[in-house]
Assembly symmetry: C2
Homo-oligomer: 484 residues x 2
């Protein structure tokens, strides 16, 4: 069912490439008749599940436990935190009817679940012995967006949300730091997506948060994709929702909360966009639904021997836990090569009569197209090595690409020029990322269509000279980029 | 946070037992402020995930692939199949607003997704080469129910739905048979839940189906819980949605469709209710979030040695892939025993100073409370054996319970009496399960509050005598039960 034709130059027109490849590789079907809601085909569903489990494993190692909360949130909950309400009100889908009855209270489809979790946390936190709470849910969320693009912005998209409660601010701050480590470990370490980690400026925090910490990936068109963010909520939610306990001296204390939102959909967008090439997708072995595809090459007289040998190769790999497909369909080998390359399978085995006789296979890497002849006896080891090398190569490319997309700019004009050109990030000096800098942030955005992404997280970059916007002495180094 | 008190007699008051245990064992919190929507705590979330994966593994072995469809279905889709619309209209939740805008078309939260899948299938089926389609999605569904009870009937509940399309009716029929095998394999084989498999009577088919095949489990109060059902949809959906292809002779043919709905939530209800006892839940090892809990027993002077030894036992089991908890909290051993028994952990290790010295552990089974002293060296094997024995014992109990709940009845009065008494299934002779029998089905229901569950699937029971309802010659043997 996949549209087999794929002949778009990623560099010439990234947007056409992206829209074509997600359809050609059979990831989604956008023809479902509700705008902004897409159908995920098996190939993407399998990758998305893997992405979920990569994050879930890291979260569980860090002591988070899974929960499953309702998809609907009553309006009265959302009303409780003013900034949150204001931020989300225009984006909410409302369930107003059940059967033929108007519901007494409208219910929002969750855009994120702070206002559901913290209501329950107020019941669950009785004493300090109940803390910390570290829960996560893997779910889809709903936002009434106007412009949508699969995996980047949708009215329904896949998401993980963690919600924590701590007795002390310092513990919450430590959780933020852990979240940033988890994001880097999964995204950069596991998936080879080079990251920029930021403390967002004050004027661009999550609705209801004190501070937002975020992970940005640069896409091939130079725009950035915010993939995961962590919010220091302070006591913004614990106070209105009364998530509190008595301390040793009998004083009522409110918890400190954080939440972390790995955007599973957006990770997928980054995987597609950053690693893909003019032949299609490239998945690293850790998420590829099929890690190795075997393409047998035979004439009528060698058919049985080649197929039997191919099955042997498949079993040898499956025994070691690899996900393998043996493509014994009637299509030509060349057709099969193209199809599986389009779908991003990281390794291919070509097996013909010669290989079968000699006890070899030809192993081809998706990223470099490098071919190696490998004895069947050592195939699993060779596949492990090739898979690792591929993952490393993709990570290296992504890192180089990111590095090449950072430009130092001393003026707003220079920012505009850089963003019009190669895009990516402009490193600039600014007066402040606090509320005093809001006007400067606005000015930069108006003049360049770029947003201040924030200060580099975990680095302590020294500002010099003047703020690019107001000309006053600069106190902070920030990065400006156009975003999805 | 669990409510530790648990002192309800399951036999004396099943309903009180059920409502208490799901809260005491920390499965759900029903205090979320939207009726019929519950919060799933980690313990139930983990079991539900395992239930999903048991079914998913079987479905994938049978060639189904995972997809993920939107949560909303436009009204126009639901309108297309008259019976389906009529069946679901009173149960639909409607999304009518986005932000401050009325949506142009109301969107239903999926009550089940035939009308979403078949719309897409009409795009995906072009030729016979595209068939069969066998997809499933793991998701929650939404129904505007009035009486709700966690895991049994909710406004949001967890579900798997498969949707298939075949060229030939015989293939669809074969899929129905496969689904029934999968249900039996997972529910009875894997989880030890004794099943009755039925062909539902004509007047009780799924809206839009030709025939419904279902799996019923008897609950401790004698009412039955329909856990999974398969529907032969025939061409009821393929015609209005135009899921069609040209056959070899150029004739337009409509596909034959089936769908299978394992009710993950309802499986959970059955696990809780059927296997639980007056001490709480009992999970079989295959789904238990913790399979073995280790309770160390020490005085101040033996503390370090006992804990070190307990860690050794834990590692020995974890190395073999077991999910183990070592409860080294400050509570008393007795308190811990109660707590972990309440939560249904199938095996417990008691480790004291004597065991540590002798290199033994005491292994206690949750179902029989049988204690065995086991040398540490053979612990994983002993745990494997005990786990199997426990699963077997639970299955045996469930089978015996089911058998004891089947009563042969020759009159409607006898049905009423049996259902008022031990409940379960009344085996009766009836004129017909076709539309001619509708009035008899209705009469039985009016007089006994029992429903005709259908003919035993895969058995060929011979009717004798007269229809219990109309007195005409009986042609079919059916089973009557009260249901959840």
């Amino acid at each position: 069912m996949a549209q087999r034709e794929f002949n778009v130059d990623k560099n010439a027109s990234f947007s056409e490439w992206y829209n074509t490849v997600i359809y050609a590789a059979d990831l989604v079907d956008v023809r479902y008749n509700v705008q902004g809601f897409v159908v995920h085909k098996p190939w993407s569903t399998r990758v998305l599940r893997k992405l979920y489990s990569l994050f879930e494993a890291e979260l569980e190692k860090d002591g988070h436990e899974p929960v499953s909360f309702p998809v609907v949130i009553p309006k009265e909950n959302i009303d409780k935190e003013a900034g949150h309400l204001e931020g989300f009100a225009p984006e909410l889908f409302w369930v107003t009817k059940g059967g033929n009855n108007e519901l007494a209270r409208p219910l929002a489809l969750r855009p994120t679940s702070e206002t559901a979790f913290y209501q329950m946390y107020s019941l669950w936190v009785q004493g300090i012995g109940d803390l910390p709470l570290k829960y996560y849910q893997s779910c889809s969320v709903y936002r009434y967006e106007h412009e949508t693009l699969p995996f980047l912005r949708g009215r329904e998209f896949m998401f993980i949300e963690t919600h924590t409660a701590f007795a002390e601010r310092a513990e919450a701050a430590a959780q933020v730091a852990k979240d940033m480590v988890i994001a880097r470990r999964v995204l950069e370490g596991g998936l080879g997506l080079a990251l920029m980690q930021f403390v967002r400026p004050h004027w661009d925090t999550f609705p209801g948060a004190e501070n937002t910490y975020a992970n940005d990936v640069v896409m091939p068109d130079g725009k950035v994709n915010q993939i995961a963010s962590t919010h220091m909520l302070g006591q913004h939610f614990s106070k209105p929702f009364d998530v509190s306990f008595e301390d040793a001296s009998g004083e009522k204390k409110y918890t400190f909360n954080t939440c972390f939102g790995p955007g599973i959909w957006r990770v997928m967008a980054a995987l597609i966009a950053v690693h893909g090439d003019n032949k299609g997708l490239i998945f690293t072995p850790v998420v590829a639904p099929v890690q190795v595809v075997i393409v047998p090459i035979f004439k009528a007289e060698t058919r049985d021997a080649v197929l039997a040998y191919a099955v042997k190769a498949r079993l040898a790999l499956e025994k070691k836990g690899y996900r393998v497909a043996l493509d014994d369909s009637d299509k030509s080998p060349g057709f099969k090569y193209n199809e599986w390359e389009l779908k991003g399978v990281p390794m291919r085995l070509e097996i013909g009569g010669r290989e079968a006789e000699a006890g070899n296979v030809t192993l081809v890497r998706r990223d470099t197209h490098e071919k190696t002849v490998v004895p069947l006896a050592v195939l699993p080891r060779a596949v492990a090595r090739a898979g690792k090398a591929l993952a490393k190569e993709l990570a290296k490319r992504s890192k180089a690409e990111l590095k090449a997309r950072i430009t130092k700019c001393k003026s707003i004009d220079a920012i505009g020029k850089a963003l019009d050109g190669k895009g990516g990030f402009c490193r600039v000096n600014i007066c402040s990322t606090g509320s005093e800098g809001t006007a400067c942030g606005k000015l930069i955005q108006e003049r360049t269509a770029g947003k201040v992404r924030g200060m580099l997280y975990g680095a302590d970059e020294k500002a010099s000279g003047k703020c690019v916007a107001c000309g006053k002495p600069a106190n902070e180094v920030v990065y400006v980029a156009r975003q999805y």
